[in-house]
Every structure is written in C-alpha cells, then in structure tokens.
Symmetry: C2
Subunit: 234 residues, 2 copies
DNA sequence: GTCTATAAACAGATAGAC
DNA sequence: GTCTATCTGTTTATAGAC
C-alpha cells in the first residue's frame, strides 16, 4: 500500500473497464449485456460481479474513470492563469487575453470532442450519461461539466465585463457549449447532411473555425443596441 | 375502405402508439419492454404483435407517426412564402425579411422543443433516434431534419448572399440548431447549473432571446474582416 | 482471482380460446 | 380484435470447483 503505489494487479479489472466504457458508449447501458463486456475483455461474467459487484457497479466505475481522466485533461487548461503568479489572484485577465483564451478553449474542446484519439472511448459514454439522467450523471456534472462551465463564465466576464454568474452569461456559455457538443451528439445527422463519410482533421478544423467566428461575433459590441435581454420585440 | 376514410377503429392501436412513444422517449428503446407498453396502454403483449408485428415494428410506427406530426407542424412554417404567389417562384426574400424570418423560426423551434405541450411526447423520441443511428433515423432525417435544414440554409442565403448549400452555410445552420437542441438534450445539465427546477415560459423566452441575439450578431457584417473561413490565425 | 455451471427472473413472440 | 397462457431464448447474479 505504501511501497507499491501503482503495481499492475489490475489486468482483468482494467480490461473490463475499458470494454465496458467502449460498449456502454456505443450501445448504451441497457443495450449492452455483461456477457458482451466479459467477452470483449477476454474474461467471464462472474468477474464483473467479483470486481464491481454487478452491472450497475461497473457503470459507476466507468463514470468515475471518465471523470478522473477528463479532470486530468481539463486541469492544465482550467487553471492556466490561476497558477501564473501568486499576487495575480488568478482571477482577472485583460479583455483581450480573456477573449483569445475563450477562443482557444473552444478550439480545444471541438478538437477533443470530434477527433482526439484519447477522447474516443470517453466522450460517447459521457454524452449518454448526460442525456439519460442516471444517478451517475451527478459525478460527471460536479467533476467535469460544472467546473468547465464556471471557468468559461469567468472568462466571459473578463472579456465583456458582464457578471460571470448572471443568468445571461451562464446561458450564453451554454449556447457556446451547445454548438460544440451538437457536432458530437448529432454526428450522424451532420455527416449525412454534409455528405461526409466521417469527420477528418480538416473538417474538424472547419467546424472549429465557424464556431470561433460565431463566438467572436457575439463577443463583439457590434455597436448596436444590447441594453437588456428581456426587451425583445417579440 | 372508400366510404369511411377515417373511422375510429384504432383505439387500442392508438393507445399502444402513444404509450410506446412516451416510454421509448423517456427510457429508450432497449430500456423499455413491450410488457410496460402494453400495461401503459391498458392492453396486453399480444396486441403489439397483432398490430405492429413486434417491438421493432412498433418502433418504426412511432417514427412514422412522429415524422407525420412534425411535418404537419413544420409545414406552415416551411413554405410560408412558397405558396404566397405563383409567379413569386417562392424562393427569394429580401435580406431583411429573410433575417427576421430566421429569427422567427429560431424562436418557434426553441418554444416548440422546450415548452410546447404537443412536442412533449415527440421530441424525446426523436432526439433518441437521432443520437442512436438506428434504421429508423432515416425516416426522421429525410422527413423532418433535412427539409428544415435546407429551408434554414435558403433563408441564410437570402439574408446574407452566401450560397445556401455551401459548406460554410450548412455548418453555420448546424451551429444554430445545436444551440437550440442542446437545451433539450442537455436539459438536466442546464437545469442543474441554472438551479432551475424546470423550464418555464419565462425561462424558455429568455433562452430564445439569447439565441436570437447570437443569431443577429452572427448575421451582422460587424464591419470586421470575414474574408474566407479557412484563414483563421490559429 | 479466475472460471464453469446453474439458478431465477426477464425478454419477445406466439398458440389458441373467446 | 382481444386476451390468457405458454414457449423459447436471454438476462443478471451466484454457487462452488480450481
């Protein structure tokens, strides 16, 4: 426990986790049998009960695994400026810095969700758990989604001056996230309409560019009236 | 067959369809048993085989039903200007008209997806079929998604002059649709982050207003450089 | 820790009475 | 057209050999 922080006694366990993540992601939780998982992991059904207590335990373990990995990936991006200098308080950026950091984060998210190889097993699982309000969604929300959303809201404040936790800003950040995530969730629809067989680096880059342009357009004052959000002409 | 174009001999059939739509939408296809459906329709399992041939037949019938209803709902919006006058050719609008029609369609879609009572049973089913690439997705895509997307692209062309079927425009329309649909698919996440117990009319209106503002910002020339999409500084 | 064998519950489909 | 009863296969979970 002390001398060996990470020995590899988790061959079977890890294989089951990998297989489950993959299959839950592609077929859904209810659409996947523990037989399939055991077969894909070159193991047997009983090993799932042994290591995870059952199918639901395996689901929870997948969620924790995903949250851990995503936090690891998101960490360097989330506190790029927090740990820069001690007296900086790590909270305020110049509007231009915040603006370009927002665009940079958007680009990263698009590339990660659409074509990063390390995201391939994680993202489908996460998105399914996000749609299905399962008891597992809690960990994913608290561990990943909320921190990232809060960070984006903070950057938005630094870029525009609008209060980060206002309804207006929180919802606007969701419209940004929605644009990105739709290209994953609605993947089959997009590919079909675009007559693309699959996403490639070039196509991902194109998508990221369009969302970046949208983002910059919304961030721009545009010298028009944007007094209060509730005064739409309807 | 001729004298009675639509008598009501479809009490059980209709009840099964309604129940299936509801349960498939909330629990997913594989997460729903035909026993549940029969029970919810106050019928029995055998009636499903009799009326629809089996569970998969019921799924297809649900898809057709949804496509029919959505087309009925979307029709008056889609060809509002097509049937206006014969010599109008029904294709070209003034930029201002196209622009306000785009905003109007966005508002309609948000309200329909988030709080229209008639959408409540349809939308979850459709969104699930859209994520899972099932053989049923075909009908939904061809019947609803593609026509709506094409119409939006056409309006975008009328509003901006960019060619409707260009990659640029088709993807931009998807960023618009993504913003809207995310508030449905990511509903649980949004509600939690906003600390809202549920969507209300006011909140839906607020969301619609923010997306409308984004749309207008992107549609505006903004007097900045927007020469070609591939020349991002990176 | 790993695996085979089996139990108990569940799925979808169907036969046949009414 | 409707429904009960049943068939057949599959599911998760588990007991027990190794």
């Amino acid at each position: 426990m002390i001398a060996k922080p990470k020995p590899p006694p988790e061959t079977t366990r890890a294989a089951l986790l990998r297989a489950a993540l993959e299959l839950f992601g592609s077929q859904g939780y209810q659409g996947t049998s523990i037989r399939e998982i055991a077969a894909a992991a070159d193991s047997n059904i009983a090993s799932i009960a042994y290591h995870f207590g059952g199918k639901e335990g395996l689901r929870v373990a997948c969620a924790d695994h995903v949250v851990g990995l995503l936090q690891q990936i998101a960490a360097p991006v989330l506190d790029l400026n927090v740990a820069q200098s001690p007296e900086d308080s790590g909270k305020n950026l110049s509007p231009d810095d915040a603006r370009s950091k927002l665009v940079a984060m958007e680009q990263r998210m698009v590339h990660f969700l659409l074509s990063a190889p390390e995201a391939k097993p994680l993202v489908p699982f996460m998105l399914r758990e996000m749609s299905d309000p399962s008891p597992v969604m809690d960990r994913i929300f608290t561990g990943v989604i909320e921190p990232v959303h809060r960070r984006l809201c903070q950057l938005w404040q630094d870029a525009t001056g609008e209060p980060a936790e206002s309804e207006q800003v929180r919802l606007t950040i969701f419209t940004l996230i929605g644009q990105i995530i739709y290209f994953r969730i609605g993947r089959e629809v997009v590919l079909r309409r675009m007559q693309w067989p699959s996403y490639t680096e070039d196509r991902t880059e194109k998508i990221a560019g369009i969302i970046a342009a949208n983002l910059e357009a919304v961030l721009s004052p545009s010298t028009q009236d944007q007094p209060s959000p509730g005064s739409s002409p309807e």
